[in-house]
Symmetry: C2
Subunit: 468 residues, 2 copies
């Protein structure tokens, strides 16, 4: 249906906006890709890429070579993509410029087992199958191992990436109960995909698709091959060599050129693509004076295969938005005092250093701690401003700093010690000065839990002053 | 001069291309920024950003608040920029889409000392001053401390960043002798800059500007203030409170509105901007019935200052290109055998694991090493393909893997051991199996030198098989 035909129908039935009952404008053409002009003449039209994936497909042959011609292998890429959304909205959820991270995993279409599947098969996850969606049922919990075994998830490689996506999201701070994998239904799945699951995070906008994980079969490589004529295939060694009959058309270039002039090239190319039975047909045709057919046998040691592609595709902005919303909290009984409970591993600053007051005696201790943390590459912030310690704790809570070291008057006494505070529980322990930066380093990298710190060091029971 | 006037002059003097002597086309307008249309109507014009810096200036007030209103502070950003180069060329050197990383350091214009300058003041660097360029002299070597002390480099903060740029570039693999800092000459320096130095790397295209480091004074913040009317200032506490006389114009809004109608607003705004002496002039003017003047005194505890900006700006693609070119080497006596000598800290893969042959007994050792390196987050590559060990070493050299572990028949014997090879020297040592992943970890993170490894472990003297 053309633009004009659409417009005619809108007018014929006097269609109105279903929401406002206003008149509708005439249909207009609209490209979801942003276009621009390249170079001084402005005659070269360019488009901003709407996804990062194609850069990997275009480089498939080099990547395969880099992996010594062997399947499976994967390539990952992160970058900006641009889509001319008609109606951008919902903060970072629907935007016109966004950061994507994509992995393309290339594998033999007949070998979708994954060698590391065993490591993750017991991961419990929430699955919202296409069937359950159709039947109006709820999502179900099971392990990824069960999901692959029962055929709910198409294969081990797809399942492996789904479990790794699950692990990634929960590690960075998405809550287990606010994360589900929803299977695409037949009517929404791209025609070429075998199976496709979206990792969805629960936000105040509802369940938001944050990561897609699709088995795209050989669709993309086939499309590139058809458009460019470049063979995008891998070779697979045959269990034993195979002898095949080969028939090829040999053209007499001179005669062909004389007879067909500028069509000769097209004809030669078409002849090269013929199947054996077609070649035999040509042999008997009226062309038999211009061309001849050579029959031979060939021993094949490898077969060509077009790899399947499993593609996890991360929307970084959406993950970030979900993370921030799911980790935004207020203190019990004081909804003005808010904090972000981001896991230490992704909190931009791991630790704050707070001298109790602007007493000059604290300065050498603060400096020593700061350079020790810098040496261990622990990002931290010294807050020696004049606010009360409670106000300064509240300030670090607001920007999600998980640990706080306070240098106080007891620090000045031998043996030197400081307090170490954990953001979410607001509990504090007293730690020897020489040990604290190592403890923070272990906590920040996830190699030690706060519970083990609580067990080892004495609790520091001083009431935290109000932030107000 | 307009486009048409330019064209007329070109024709009048019958100007030709100086290189080819061909006719010149008519002048045409050309925007170095890429434009596009945003949204469904296509009426909103947008441009791809030509630099990342402005995003930081726009957010200046938030950043200042984040730093509790105190100067100095710095913000950094990395991202893509787009420039419609007329003639992109020279690989990654001149491209239309490129990755930039910029730091904007905001400081009091009267306090450009840097607290950490002492840490880096002895860094020897190569300076190519504007004077030496004018006089046809060569660049000179001195420490950054001397350069700031003699006034060659304008101030400590600029000098601090120049030294840090120097350290960064040499750490990632730019050679000391192929790096110089060239001062902008007066005729090339932006009119607002106090001082500007380019870190230039030597390549086969000559000296290429890879990092700019400029003292941009208060130019950018002033421009944003003028365009938006938003005050982009920091407050500085005065040593002691200051009493100042204030005279302000009080308008009778009703009379003013009646008299000047729609110009009233413009007049009110202009009056608010007057200096004290101007206000006193107004007091005696014919306007004195419409407006009155209020004289008072005000105690000031702070003064407003517009921060100066020191801006190091990194062209990532150019640095990468220079790095690759400066680190591309061939083995002595065999120019077919090439390797990249990237420092371990930036080599994408830190280590290879090579079983000597496809003997199945090697497999458990290879697996154990691989998981141990994975646990320590050391990126590595297992190459168990069938090539000779020499060919596989050559392959790892080509992609700059600095260390290689070979599992051989001696590995199978007690006490288990492996060989560890360094890429540039091709020297090998024999290291106990249980120690090797820790040794590689220390080497890869720069916490241990290869020399210390050579001293501790016995040399392994087996001739490396030819790669050919």
């Amino acid at each position: 249906m053309s633009k004009d035909e659409m417009g005619a129908i809108l007018r014929k039935y006097d269609m109105k906006s279903p929401v406002t009952n206003n008149d509708l404008s005439d249909p207009m053409e609209f490209n979801l890709m942003f276009s621009t002009q390249i170079g001084p003449t402005g005659l070269v039209k360019g488009f901003l890429r709407p996804e990062t994936a194609q850069g990997i497909f275009v480089n498939f042959k080099r990547l395969l070579e880099f992996n010594q011609g062997k399947l499976p292998f994967a390539a990952a890429q992160i970058g900006n993509s641009f889509r001319n959304e008609i109606s951008p909205r919902s903060g970072l959820i629907r935007v016109r410029e966004f950061t994507m991270a994509e992995i393309e995993h290339f594998c033999d279409p007949n070998l979708k087992e994954h060698p590391k599947f065993d490591d993750i098969k017991d991961t419990p996850m929430t699955f919202y199958s296409a069937c359950n969606q159709m039947d109006g049922k709820s999502p179900a919990q099971m392990t990824i191992g069960e999901a692959v075994k029962t055929g709910l998830v198409a294969n081990e490689t797809l399942g492996y990436y789904m479990a790794r996506i699950h692990k990634f999201l929960t590690t960075v701070g998405i809550k287990f109960d606010c994360l589900r994998f929803r299977q695409h239904m037949n009517n929404e799945m791209a025609h070429y995909a075998c199976d496709c699951w979206d990792a969805e995070c629960l936000t105040s906008y509802g369940w938001v698709e944050c990561v897609g994980c699709a088995d795209r079969s050989a669709y993309d490589l086939n499309q590139h091959m058809n458009a460019t004529g470049v063979r995008m295939v891998a070779e697979k060694r045959l269990p034993e060599p195979k002898t095949v009959n080969v028939s090829e058309v040999i053209t007499n270039k001179q005669t062909l050129g004389k007879t067909f002039k500028k069509d000769a090239k097209t004809i030669t190319e078409a002849l090269a693509k013929l199947s054996i039975s077609e070649v035999e047909g040509v042999e008997k045709s009226s062309l038999k004076d211009t061309i001849s057919v050579r029959h031979s046998t060939k021993t094949m040691h490898v077969e060509e295969i077009i790899p399947s592609v499993i593609e996890p595709s991360f929307g970084i902005g959406r993950i970030l938005y979900s993370l921030l919303e799911q980790n935004f909290n207020t203190r019990e009984g004081d909804d003005q005092r808010c904090y972000f409970s981001l896991p230490p591993v992704i909190a931009p600053l791991k630790c704050s250093i707070l001298p109790l007051s602007n007493n000059q005696d604290f300065t050498p201790f603060v400096k020593k701690l700061s350079s020790s943390l810098t040496k261990d590459e622990i990002s931290h912030k010294v807050d020696d401003s004049s606010g009360s310690i409670g106000r300064r704790y509240a300030r670090t809570d607001e920007i999600s700093i998980p640990y706080g070291i306070t240098v106080d008057f007891d620090t000045l006494k031998e043996p030197h010690s400081v307090t170490l505070r954990e953001r979410d529980s607001m509990k504090q322990v007293r730690v020897p000065f020489d040990e604290v930066s190592d403890v923070v380093k272990q906590l920040a990298s996830g190699r030690r839990t706060w519970e083990s710190v609580l067990q080892k060091y004495p609790l520091f029971e001083q009431q935290e002053a109000s932030a107000k």
